[in-house]
Subunit: 464 residues, 2 copies
Amino acid sequence: MSDAFADLDAHVEANAAARLTDFLELLRIPSISALPEHAGDCRLAASWIADRLRSAGLEHVELAETGGSPVVYADWLHARGAPTVLLYAHYDVQPADPLEHWVKPPFDPRVEDGHVYARGAADDKSHIHMLISAAQAWLAVRGRLPINLKFVFEGEEESGSANLDRWLEANQARLGADLAVVSDTGFFEGNLPAITTGLRGMMYAQLDVRGSHEDLHSGGYGGSVRNPATVLAEILAGLHRPDGRVDVPGFYDDVRMPSETERAASARLPFDEGEYMASIGVDALFGEVGYTTLERRGIRPTLDVCGLWGGFQGEGSKTIIPATAHAKISCRLVSDQDPQRVFAQLQDRIKALAPEGVRVTLTFINGGLPSLMPTDHPATKAAARCIEEVFGRAPLYVSEGGSIPVTASFGSILGLPVILLGFMNPDCGAHAPNESLRLDNWEAGLRTTVRYWEALASLPDRTP
Amino acid sequence: MSDAFADLDAHVEANAAARLTDFLELLRIPSISALPEHAGDCRLAASWIADRLRSAGLEHVELAETGGSPVVYADWLHARGAPTVLLYAHYDVQPADPLEHWVKPPFDPRVEDGHVYARGAADDKSHIHMLISAAQAWLAVRGRLPINLKFVFEGEEESGSANLDRWLEANQARLGADLAVVSDTGFFEGNLPAITTGLRGMMYAQLDVRGSHEDLHSGGYGGSVRNPATVLAEILAGLHRPDGRVDVPGFYDDVRMPSETERAASARLPFDEGEYMASIGVDALFGEVGYTTLERRGIRPTLDVCGLWGGFQGEGSKTIIPATAHAKISCRLVSDQDPQRVFAQLQDRIKALAPEGVRVTLTFINGGLPSLMPTDHPATKAAARCIEEVFGRAPLYVSEGGSIPVTASFGSILGLPVILLGFMNPDCGAHAPNESLRLDNWEAGLRTTVRYWEALASLPDRTP
């Protein structure tokens, strides 16, 4: 079967250097959707991508306004009788702080030891660029695509996809397809090829504790007033039990127990806890009692403090009682958990923990539903065959702890089955300083994608 | 008795406008000792003060090197047969953050409604300038001082007086005196004249919790690792009991119960909890079970979180597990509590609370012993008489919750009795944004000081 792609592989190989240079250009655009001051950069990235889609030969290229960063839409619909596939990736990136931990600035990409280091190098510009390159290869070499494609490149994934659902709803007719392929995932520990079949949902909120009008002198007032920083700590401490379970009434009500089959499959994954600990630099793991590490991070819900602040943070000493203290909280959701319901449960719990003498509020920031992908769908099996052909090893099926809210939306709004096909190395450090992409994953991912579209051509049109 | 000071009062009044202009100049120097980038400004403030001391007619003016910000020393020793008094105030100020809460920049003083607003306007540049002005008045009008004076103006009080004890030890001979008068305190609620007879000590430390090498994706890792921000919260929450007592074994061992007399005196102070709450903007008070608000803030020990930080602090969302989380902790100490002993107790407690999977450390930043001043000392009684004469009301005797570590050092190193004589308005907002000084307190404080030196002249030389 390999020979059938010799012309496309040759094109991919011949363009390797130019493709990398072009990719670095995209990585230089700081398209951080969470920070309003980068709204212009998000738009710049969208325009850059639209240009490349046009050059590749795609049609109806458009920056579709959503109220926030635009969706970049493009299509190619001339494969008569072949299925139509909606391709999704996102061009926005996480904030880059703490900046001082980056070896080089996050938007000044560095190529070293077979990796590209930059914010967004893996998550998710690697896939944006890979999908455009695959289309460019097919159209340049064969003058056609094997299937009909609709590209939907989002610019607000890292800030909660606030506008995407509304846009999907408004564009249902135009977005009709047989299948959605979401490219925003990666491989398993040890860089073992993997297909993600489960994603957790998310609920993200901010906790604010407010005391006095202004910071108070900790000598003059200390001992006589509630300290907002202490109250914040006490509330956060009250959200977990010592056994690692989330201590929010109702939190587990909508969580289904994993089946014995699921647990057995998870237990068979080649996972080395020692290597896992070494890779992140900790000497012990911790999580919900009764579950393995893979279950804890993949199929169980969580509550994490993503940040906290209040009062004096400088060198040395400043003797105050802070006027306010704050925390960012993210919950990862599974099964039938709903972000709004979890937010309400957390709000009730925090209300119960809040003492007199301070004002405590919880504000919803964003959320998304969990989703499960079918392992027995022909499009999943086709993806597995292509991965095995290029990477020389059949993929594992894994539940990934992250959240891609749009995955659930493609099902609920557009009625599409969704396949997750992504190639990030598991040590890519998405969301962390010195995020990196393995270039060999990227190149092989491109060749896999080229093959996958051909494989999808032979699927029955209007897959069930 | 008033007539005896008519010439000095007239001089004070005649120079009011020039004195204020000169004071604002001092307030423009951002002498923040806690921040290394302001070391030059501390030195600038010291030089400015030395110039004014020289102009006033004081002698042996010197910037005495201590290893940090210099001590400004000056004296006048020609009052043969009269007592020698060491005068202390500090020219360094607290950091000014959060800057966005200041109506005008903290080092751009604003005069409004009889107040001066600026960082250090009250704490403690008001007293630095007042003491120089009192000497200037005496020397200009009478050509002499009624007593021998030694000025010791420190530049590191707000960062823990790290170098002062060593400097006092090295200069014992030169600093011989009958009495030390420390000017770094203020009046009671309602701006009622007061003399502080008790100060709490302090222990200031930093708590650091470290997990993974870098921030982790809260989806990919959440649920499987200890979250340093959660651990920080759990440790901080573990340092108090629900009844407001500090939950650190041994913490209260060296704390003497207040006597019935002390408690009765405290209960007689004209204190309105409603006004107190309104002045700081809270709707309930809280503190150690079994004590009144005045006792809690004046004569009982405390533990406060002065600041905390870790992970994402921006707008919107960033879905990470922070690599580290941190807190600043200050304990106010009473009776026989010792900063180093309290630090060791806290360290033990934190060690007991720290789980596996993170590295937890506590670092000592600075400390000072608590101190009690005699109410029956002739110099205290003389201060009370002068305050009553100028302010028209006898002072209250109060225990102030703040800490002035040098107060204990003047006793232990130089063997001096110490009187605290200060005039800050109680709502001055020392350490907070928009710190302010009441100008009427400042003027009357100056006239009180002018009288107090004369009153001290009639004390027996070498007071017991």
